[in-house]
């Protein structure tokens, strides 16, 4: 039956009931329409945008994490191996742009540094979990933004976690179990046995069985290769049985037969990395890159990220719809929280303002005090100065008086003298005058 929608008029707010899925009948096509090019259109767009893939390598120092990455991606990635003396677990992350034919891949490799080296390893898993959560958080923040650019956002969420198991040959260490248990709900875990050339074939089978049973009995959910698509179901199914993969990494190339191959040379023989009889490296590469890369990305987004998002939003106090009440209280709780927050901010602002006013008053009083003091000092000094001046003036006056008196006496004396010697004196003057002329 044709699913025809109710026609909406302006009155009933245009609600149409278009039932997708159910009731949509399949219509035959009378000719070639051309939308079978749609997957190609989609793929072309994605190719032009580029892909990203992020791998996290967790494992103890010295298990060959960096070497394995180099071998997987056929290139020498980065620098110095780490020492065993790290005080805590840290994560080192590097991003590379790889290009193959016309496909560009932004590959990010994150490695743990110092994992398993400490004496007390209780908190070793914490930095890893925090890192993974931080990537989810960043994506969530971007998604919640008002103006967002999700389609060009560089996705930093971890798509695959390779967990390196030490080749003891016995069983998993308790650190491994604890860490994997913490990580299994956050990321796709692919356990691998590192440096597996240290184990013989028979020991290896026993080891794998032991590991798988321990993982199952502890409820650790490792990543299962998807078996729902027929084209890959078979190969994925067989691969699932080979987990955990026993791998060997090597970047050295040796001549074997007449070809150059990646291998490790021992006195007793040569281990070839790409030989399926020697190790599972080829299987790992096949599964990780050539068959399931897209699925890993999708699981990360649709399962792990959604779980994180749900938990985070619920933690913040949001609830989803009730079957009776309309969706949803996100609005109400958000509003309440916002008002609360604003109220708090206002209170703080008031407090700060009060404090400020008070401080200003205090300072003002202080300054007034200082001003007063200064005035007093100034007055005192002025007075002193005036006293001094007065004294000096008095002295001067005295001195002037004395000088005047002296002058008077002088002129009087001179007068007397001149009167006395006027008779004789005037003659000498005359004579002097005549001499001069």
């Amino acid at each position: 039956m044709e699913a025809e929608a109710n026609s909406g008029s302006l009155e009933d707010s245009g609600a149409f009931i278009q039932r997708p899925g159910e009731g949509c009948r399949t219509v035959p096509l009378a000719g070639h329409v051309g939308f079978d090019s749609l997957p190609d259109q989609l793929v072309n767009k994605s190719v032009s945008q580029g892909f990203c893939f992020n791998i996290l390598c967790v494992g103890e120092t010295g298990l060959g994490k960096s070497t394995l990455m180099d071998t997987l991606f056929n290139t020498k990635f980065e620098g110095e191996p780490a020492t065993h003396t790290q005080p805590g677990v840290q994560l080192r992350s590097n991003t590379y742009d790889l290009q193959e034919s016309n496909v560009g891949l932004k590959l990010t490799i994150v490695s743990t540094v110092g994992f398993g080296d400490q004496i007390n390893k209780e908190d070793s898993y914490k930095p890893i979990v925090e890192f993974i959560d931080a990537q989810f958080e960043a994506y969530l923040q971007e998604e919640l933004k008002i103006r967002r650019v999700l389609h060009s956002y560089h996705d930093s969420r971890i798509h695959a976690c390779l967990y390196f198991i030490a080749p003891t040959g016995h069983s998993l260490k308790s650190l491994d179990l604890v860490t994997m248990k913490k990580l299994d709900s956050k990321v796709n875990i692919i356990p691998i046995i590192a440096k597996s050339d240290a184990i013989s074939k028979s020991e290896l089978t026993k080891f794998k069985i032991k590991i798988t049973s321990e993982l199952v009995s502890n409820g650790v959910q490792i990543y299962q290769f998807p078996t729902d698509d027929e084209s890959v179901a078979e190969i994925n199914g067989t691969m699932n049985a080979h987990l955990p993969f026993a791998v060997i990494g090597s970047t050295e190339e040796l001549k074997i037969g007449n070809k150059m191959m990646k291998a490790r040379q021992y006195p007793w023989g040569t281990v070839q990395v790409e030989n399926e009889a020697h190790c599972d490296f080829v299987k790992l590469r096949e599964m990780l890159i050539r068959v399931n890369m897209e699925d890993l990305r999708e699981q990360t987004h649709s399962r792990h990220y959604e779980l994180y998002r749900r938990c985070k939003l619920e933690e913040m106090g949001f609830k989803d719809t009730d079957p009776d009440s309309k969706p949803f209280s996100l609005q109400e709780t958000y509003e309440a929280k916002r008002n609360e927050f604003l109220g708090e901010l206002q209170k703080k602002e008031e407090e700060m303002r009060q404090m400020f006013v008070q401080r200003v008053k205090e300072k003002e009083a202080e300054l007034k005090e200082a001003e007063k003091e200064l005035h007093e000092k100034f007055d005192r000094l002025k007075k002193l100065h005036q006293d001094e001046k007065k004294k000096l003036e008095d002295k001067k006056k005295c001195l002037d008086d004395e000088v005047n008196a002296f002058k008077q006496r002088k002129t009087a004396a001179e007068l007397l003298q001149s009167q006395g010697s006027q008779a004789g004196g005037s003659q000498t003057l005359k004579r002097d005058k005549e001499k001069k002329n």
Partner: protein, 358 residues
């Protein structure tokens, strides 16, 4: 095999996450570019195949809306485009049957499959558009419908427990049918396109183009293009969304030469030169729908379906939907939309967009 693997120097900083609960996304600085062609095959390009398989499995949704006055051949054209009876033609109205008072919106969904690709096609018809005597605001129900689809999608997206694949009912493409008067656009056409070009991808088509000769056609198209430009109406493909030079040149060509497409639709087949073709039979000849000399139907079909289908969806999702979302969240004060606990209703979805500051 190449010897001496080139040392890939990295500028990556040692991004340390000391065990403190401080979330710091440790995405490092400049990535180093490595051309892995030199170093042996890794297999990265298989991701294309993986992606293609995944999309074929999930299938596609496509929602196309046709707007235009009645009698312009909308349903016929959609049937011709998708080569199947996806749209029911409005049977000729008797005079007794009332002409609908307002614009109705009818959405009908079908599933079509071709080459392993399943597509759920929804054709949204708008009977009654432009048919009344007073056509003021007849675009409002349409705008309301489009906004409601965005609202539906937004609500699903904001849910805490959300579905894996949110059903996409948003209108990806709106074909606007222009009456082939040969003169210029009608005021109704301009008003409609002006309002809607901001919320949806509009592709104007000249309907029933077999009433115009070649010269009339090209003159009309030029006039229409000019008028649209003068009125600032951006139809799909919009200039501002051209991503790179290649897109720009390709789209420029389409914008300036081919659009608006002058089309003829038909679902009847006739024998021409020994082949069966879709066409219209007239006393003076048979108009072949898929013949580029006769009309531009083939161009429209290739444009919408074979080359730009995915792009239509992406522009709708990345641009129109995001604009709606941003506006909606802003109006709500940064809060996601919804109704309160006790059923108190928020302001309803606006039929006309809120006065924008754009």
């Amino acid at each position: 095999m190449s010897k001496g693997l080139p040392e890939a120097r990295t500028d990556a900083a040692m991004s340390e996450l000391v065990p403190e609960p401080r979330p710091k996304p440790a995405v490092p600085m400049k990535p180093v570019s490595i051309n892995s062609n030199l170093l042996g095959y890794i297999g990265i390009d298989t991701i294309i195949e993986q992606m293609r398989k995944k999309t074929m499995k999930t299938g596609f949704d496509f929602n196309i809306m046709v707007v235009g006055q009645s009698g312009l051949g909308k349903s016929t054209l959609v049937n011709t485009l998708f080569k199947s009876q996806v749209s029911r033609k409005a049977s000729s109205w008797n005079r007794e049957e009332k002409i609908p008072k307002t614009v109705e919106i009818k959405a009908i969904g079908h599933v079509i499959e071709e080459g392993g690709v399943k597509m759920k096609l929804t054709v949204i018809d708008t009977p009654g558009f432009g048919d009344q005597i007073n056509n003021e605001n007849c675009w409002e129900p349409i705008e309301k419908y489009i906004n409601e689809q965005y609202e539906k999608f937004l609500k699903e997206e904001v849910n805490i427990a959300r579905k894996k694949r949110i059903p996409d009912t948003r209108v990806h493409c709106c074909l606007y049918f222009i009456s082939p008067t040969g003169h210029s656009l009608r005021p109704l056409d301009l008003e409609f396109m002006r309002h809607l070009s901001k919320v949806v991808n509009i592709i104007p088509v000249i309907a029933k183009a077999d009433t115009m000769t070649l010269e009339e056609k090209s003159e009309f198209k030029q006039r229409v293009r000019k008028e649209l430009e003068v009125n600032g109406i951006e139809f799909y493909p919009q200039k501002e969304f051209d991503e790179d030079l290649e897109d720009k040149t390709e789209n420029d060509k389409i914008r300036q030469e081919s659009m608006p497409f002058a089309v003829v639709g038909s679902d009847k087949e006739y024998q021409v030169n020994g082949k069966r073709v879709l066409g219209r039979k007239t006393p003076w000849g048979i108009i072949e729908v898929e013949n580029l000399n006769h009309c531009e139907f083939a161009l429209l079909r290739d444009f919408v379906i074979r080359t730009h289908l995915q792009d239509l969806k992406e522009v709708t999702h990345n641009i129109h939907y995001e604009t709606y979302r941003a506006k909606r969240l802003n109006d709500n004060g940064g809060l996601p939309p919804g109704e309160g606990l006790l059923g108190t209703v928020l302001p309803p979805v606006p039929a006309t967009p809120c006065p924008t500051a754009e």
